[in-house]
Amino acid sequence: MATYYSEEHEWVTVDGDTATIGITQHAADQLGDIVFVEQKEAGDDFEKGDEIGVIESVKAASEIYAPVDGEVIEANEVLADNPGALNESPEGDAWIYKIKLSDASQLDDLMDLDGYKALIG
């Protein structure tokens, strides 16, 4: 399994033609205390760049943009009852979606961990 990163501070861990996506610890730290996550439902499809959710912190609302084309297989239900989990383990238990990839070649546009670390400095 390989993990990719987007400039919108999302991670994508690929397993065959499916992937798990979420936001990075850096993004969660910047957002501050997260109090609400709005998610799409299983079966919803989307294209790269589409708004696929909203994360509200005590400070402000931030959109989640799709890093690749795909279809939602599962939205992480943990976030509905415990949005603060996104602050605790955004790169672990508090993933946002499991998705089916439509076009694996889009992964080539994303960064690896070194590239992402360079982005956030």
């Binding site: 501050g32 205390d33 109090v35 609400f36 709005e38 909203v54 509200e56 005590v58 400070k59 402000a60 609302a61 509905a80 949005p83």
Partner: protein, 365 residues
């Protein structure tokens, strides 16, 4: 704003404490510290928090009958404000809108006024132009620090016993660590606490002395906003502005009986008419039923789907444990318990009108 943001006397202390600095009304202020907004909010509700509010305008008024003259600009009964007392009020315009809200204290040989940071440039000339025979002096060499929360009396009182004797909305001058400070028992969080005006060269020393108390931690503007929202207190620019009247803003409690009856302040015609007949809209508390925060600008609809108003302040209330908001609804709406819908990202989310405040005010009366 093209000028570089200004820094308060506590700037270096904020940076040392890990404050995340943002530009607010032309001032570089901490929005939060490493504890985070949620933690700082709870710190203030449960123990005590220290806020730098030095960006606010501190003004001294000297002259004959200052209180009486202030009544020509404000609908408050400042002529009868007793020495050692502070009173919330506002400047009204000729149309009965609110120009700014403020706190006026009768300090004996002068009056002490605190106005909003963003409106210093408006309020100071407004007072200079309209208060005949009153010397209006804006103070630039004093910090203003708020210590708020149930432990504030101990945090401040251990350094300054005189602070313990003050009741809510009382003010005095006393020494803290050998520095003469103006101490007022009031604030903007719904909790007991003080605002303390300190000479700028002693501001860091006195603030450090408060922070040395085990129950006191620094808090930023983020927590200040969520605290005042839960306490149902208006924020100028969000909930009140030049177009909203005090009656619309549910601030008739802040206009004393004599002034309501006699008038004699800018916009009295509209305000007295609204007192008698009701206003076209009113500010109410709104509790969303779900978890999604309803922020400023969100449309409020009746359950029949008609637009009846908009949210003016909204967010997450850490003490409430869910979203809280305030907004205006049209006359005929706004009774506590009324169900409404909030249009958040195109979807109607159920909410209920509630009485303000969201949390019980904890003042030392």
């Amino acid at each position: 704003m093209t000028d570089a943001p200004k820094r308060t006397p506590l700037y270096d202390l904020h940076v040392e404490l890990g404050g995340k600095m943002v530009d607010f009304a032309g001032w570089e202020m901490p929005v939060q510290y490493p504890m985070g907004i949620m933690g700082e909010h709870k710190q203030c509700r449960e123990k005590a928090a220290l806020f730098d509010v030095s960006h606010m305008g501190q003004v001294i008024l000297r002259g004959e009958n200052v209180g009486e003259k202030l009544e020509s600009l404000c609908p408050q009964a400042y002529a009868t404000l007793k020495e050692g007392k502070a009173r919330y009020g506002f400047f009204t315009n000729a149309e009965g809108g609110i120009m700014d809200d403020l706190i006026v204290s009768n300090a004996g040989d002068h009056y002490f006024v605190v106005v909003n940071a963003a409106l210093r440039h408006q309020d100071i000339p407004h007072m200079r132009d309209n208060l005949d025979g009153v010397e209006v002096t804006e103070i630039f060499d004093r910090a203003l620090v708020a210590v708020q929360g149930p432990a504030a009396e101990n945090v401040v009182g251990e350094l300054c016993p005189a602070a313990r004797d003050l009741k809510f909305m009382e003010t005095t001058v006393a020494d803290i660590n050998g520095t003469s400070c103006r101490i007022s028992r009031l604030g903007y969080t719904g909790e007991d606490g003080y605002e303390i005006s300190i000479p700028e060269d002693k501001a860091v020393e006195v603030s450090r002395a408060f922070l040395a108390h085990e129950d006191c931690e620094p808090a930023g503007l983020g927590a200040r906003d969520s605290l005042r929202l839960e306490a149902g207190l208006c924020l100028y620019g969000n909930d009140i502005d030049q177009s909203t009247s005090p009656i619309e803003a549910s601030l008739s409690w802040a206009i004393q009986k004599r002034r309501k009856e006699e008038g004699g302040f800018p916009g009295a015609a509209r305000i007295q008419k609204e007192l008698a007949e009701g206003a076209a809209k009113k500010l109410v508390g709104i509790k969303p039923e779900g978890r999604a925060p309803a922020r400023q600008g969100i449309e409020i609809q009746s359950t029949e789907g008609n637009t009846i108003g908009a949210i003016t302040s909204g967010g997450f209330g850490p003490t409430v444990g869910g979203p809280v908001a305030m907004g205006y609804v049209a006359a005929g709406h706004g009774a506590p318990g009324e169900k409404v819908n909030l249009i958040i990202r195109g979807k109607a989310q159920p909410a209920e009108i509630v009485s303000l405040p969201f949390v019980t005010q904890n003042y030392k009366r």
